[in-house]
């Protein structure tokens, strides 16, 4: 268990990091879900594992007996699961709505909030063409207009 848990957390974080970097937004969302699971397992591991005694106070006793499991991480993880589920559901609905609106779930197809070339009042300096392409000298006006 002591080896398995950190390994599981590590694999989950690695997979989450990979998925979060995708331009495909549903993948990113899955990445978030995996990352949340890794965080929950971390809290679980933080409460110390290894004992199977339930944290129940025996009738008549004043305190838990020694070696009882730690109930606090369970409560924290439960809260975190509920919150994470709510957030993931909202993100999924938002994604669905965006898909209906844009017809795509790739982040590069949604450029509405920050259009790539904002029309600013003083003419934006024309982006210089990539140097690799041989450029006719002097650049014909037609090319400039295209750019």
């Amino acid at each position: 268990m002591e080896i398995a848990l950190p390994l599981a957390i590590g694999v989950l974080v690695a997979a989450a990091a990979y998925l979060l970097m995708a331009r495909d937004l549903p993948r990113g969302l899955l990445g978030f879900v995996l990352l949340g699971t890794a965080a929950n397992l971390t809290i679980f591991a933080a409460g110390r594992i290894g004992t199977m005694t339930p944290p129940l106070v025996a009738p008549g006793a004043q305190a838990l007996e020694a070696g009882a499991a730690n109930p606090l991480p369970q409560a924290l993880v439960l809260t975190a699961i509920v919150i994470g589920f709510g957030l993931a559901s909202f993100a999924l609905v938002l994604l669905r709505r965006a898909h209906a609106e844009f017809g795509s779930v790739m982040s590069e197809d949604m450029q509405e909030a920050e259009p790539p070339l904002a029309a600013a009042p003083p003419a934006e300096p024309a982006p210089t063409p990539p140097p690799a392409r041989p450029r006719p000298v002097p650049a014909p006006a037609a090319l400039r207009e295209v750019v």
Binding site: L20, L25, G28, L29, F32, L35, G36, A38, A39, N40, T42, I43, F44, A45, A46, G47, R48, A66, N70, L72, P73, L76, T79, A80, I83, G84, G86, L87, A88, F90, A91, L94, L95, R97, A98, E101, F102, S107, M110, Q111, E112, A113, E114, A118, A119, A120, P121
Partner: protein, 512 residues
């Protein structure tokens, strides 16, 4: 009485949220309840502030569980100031939201979400527990998601998705850090953490957890290099929403950084001070340069939120009483000014027809009073005396020079100049330039620019201008309070004693 005042800032918005949600079909009634609740919240936070100033820190154990076990609410001078300013902003925006567009907004559920957001913010400012802080962050976050995409336009969906994804990752980092901190210390109560943290054997692992916390709070506060979600999203929101976001959301992140790094990780200041200092510097510069590149009022203002966050972090980077006092004064001033600028931008769009500077013009000739109301917060943001921003900047920069952080202080000075450039750009384009044909022809639709709407738009703007002028012209009490708040922040023993009592209950040592 103190206990009631302590929970009121959370309970009042909670009640308002529930009642307005139940009155879903009656937007008119919702709106009135919303304003009344915000006014009540403001009054209760003022009473709480008076209580803190006269009687010291207010501490409450929810459900009477003794300190490190249950949920603790703690309001020290910094928290009290933040709560008052939250109340003021809630009131200003609630009134402003009665202006143009109110009907559509309220049909989409603005009121319940707005009060849920305020509740999350108030909870984050008053909690004394790390996991509880996480929960309040999430309350705030889910409400802000809903508010951001209120109009469901394509622009908002795009900006909203970016905002949602980046913030989800940020808060998951927070959760991860909470797990690590709990594993290392066996406690999540901030006061207990402050007591235990210096004794932890594995300081390296604790520092790693602290860095995770810094990342998640930094993402919330929109510091360099985690700020990208802010300019992608804020300018798409409807104006009252953008104003309350600009006022409160990033500042909760700054507050969390100040709270956690002055209280829990103060013993590691030699490690985190320089990191936060560099971050603060880059945040200031990148934000102000981003603003210089834009020609949409909302986008310029959004980038300025980022750059101003840097000033607030200078306090945590230097950790001297004067620097922290500067941070407190700066946060209070900035919230008022920045929210006001967004409100003014909304009014400019109503009377001028656009947010784009190219399509605006001639407003000084037709609306001189609006121009004056833009100038007060704009010049205050840039730090022109005698407005509030001057004093905030003065204290921050002076503390930088006193701590011999020459580079940090010089950058702060230069960024102030560039801020002035951006504000002058808006002024020249929107107010002084001759109006372009379509702007000159623009008339607000009479149906949505009646007497009531004009009052709802301008009353909060005038009130916030008055607050800016008050802080600027009568700085003494504000500065004195900021210094007291800074000293309370640095007096960790007093905080620990106030929360845990003089003989702190020992947490089950077996856990550690």
């Amino acid at each position: 009485m103190r206990q009631i005042l302590l929970v009121a800032p959370i309970l009042i918005p909670l009640a308002a949220c529930a009642i307005t949600a139940l009155l879903w079909q009656r937007p008119e009634v919702q709106r009135r309840i919303g304003v009344a609740a915000a006014a009540l919240l403001f009054l209760s936070t003022l009473a709480l502030l008076a209580e803190v100033v006269t009687g010291g820190m207010v501490v409450g154990q929810m459900g009477n569980w003794p300190a490190p076990f249950g949920i603790t609410l703690v309001v020290d001078p910094l928290s009290a100031a933040m709560l008052v300013i939250t109340g003021l902003m809630a009131l200003a925006v609630a009134v402003y939201a009665m202006g143009p567009g109110a009907a559509e907004r309220d049909r989409a559920g603005f009121q319940p979400l707005f009060h849920a957001l305020v509740m999350g913010v108030a909870g984050a400012f008053s909690t004394g527990d790390l996991f509880n802080l996480y929960v309040w962050f999430e309350v705030m976050l889910i409400a802000s998601f809903g508010l951001l995409v209120l109009d469901r336009t394509r622009e908002q969906l795009d900006g909203g998705l970016r905002y949602v994804m980046l913030n989800l990752v940020g808060t998951t980092f927070f959760l991860l850090a909470v797990g690590l901190v709990y594993g290392l210390t066996g406690t999540l109560n901030l006061a207990d953490l402050a007591r235990v943290a210096p004794q932890v054997e594995n300081q390296g692992a604790l520092a790693a957890a602290a860095v995770l916390l810094l990342i998640s709070f930094g993402a919330k506060a929109a510091v360099f290099p985690l700020f990208n979600w802010l300019p992608a999203a804020y300018h798409t929101a409807s104006m009252p929403v953008a104003a309350i976001f600009a006022a409160l959301l990033t500042k909760v992140g700054v507050y969390a950084i100040i709270r956690v790094f002055t209280l829990v990780f103060a013993h590691d200041q030699a490690l985190f001070g320089p990191i936060i200092g560099v971050v603060a510097m880059l945040t200031m510069v990148v934000g102000v340069l981003g603003a210089a590149a834009h020609y949409d009022v909302r986008r310029i203002l959004s980038f300025h939120i980022i750059s101003q966050i840097g000033y607030m972090l200078v306090g945590v980077a230097l950790m001297t009483p004067l620097a922290l006092a500067g941070a407190v004064l700066y946060i209070v001033h900035h919230i008022v000014v920045k929210a006001n600028l967004f409100l003014v931008a909304g009014a400019m769009q109503k009377v001028g027809g656009s947010f784009a500077l190219a399509k605006l013009g001639g407003l000084w000739a037709t609306r001189p009073l609006l121009g004056l109301m833009f100038l007060i917060p704009a010049l205050s943001l840039a730090g022109i005396p005698p407005l509030s921003g001057f004093w905030g900047k003065l204290v921050v920069i002076r503390s930088g020079f006193e701590a011999e952080a020459w580079l940090l202080a010089s950058v702060a000075l230069a960024v102030g100049l560039l801020t002035l450039y951006s504000m002058v750009k808006i002024w020249n384009e929107a107010f002084w330039k001759a109006a372009p044909a379509e702007a000159a022809a623009h008339q607000p639709a009479p149906g949505e620019w009646g007497r009531m709407q004009r009052f709802a738009t301008f009353a909060p703007i005038v009130a916030l201008c008055a607050v800016t002028l008050t802080i600027g012209l009568w700085t003494e009490p504000f500065a004195a309070f900021s210094l007291a708040a800074a000293e309370a922040l640095l007096d960790r023993e007093a905080y620990i004693a106030a929360v845990l009592g003089t003989a702190p209950v020992q947490l089950a040592e077996a856990v550690r």
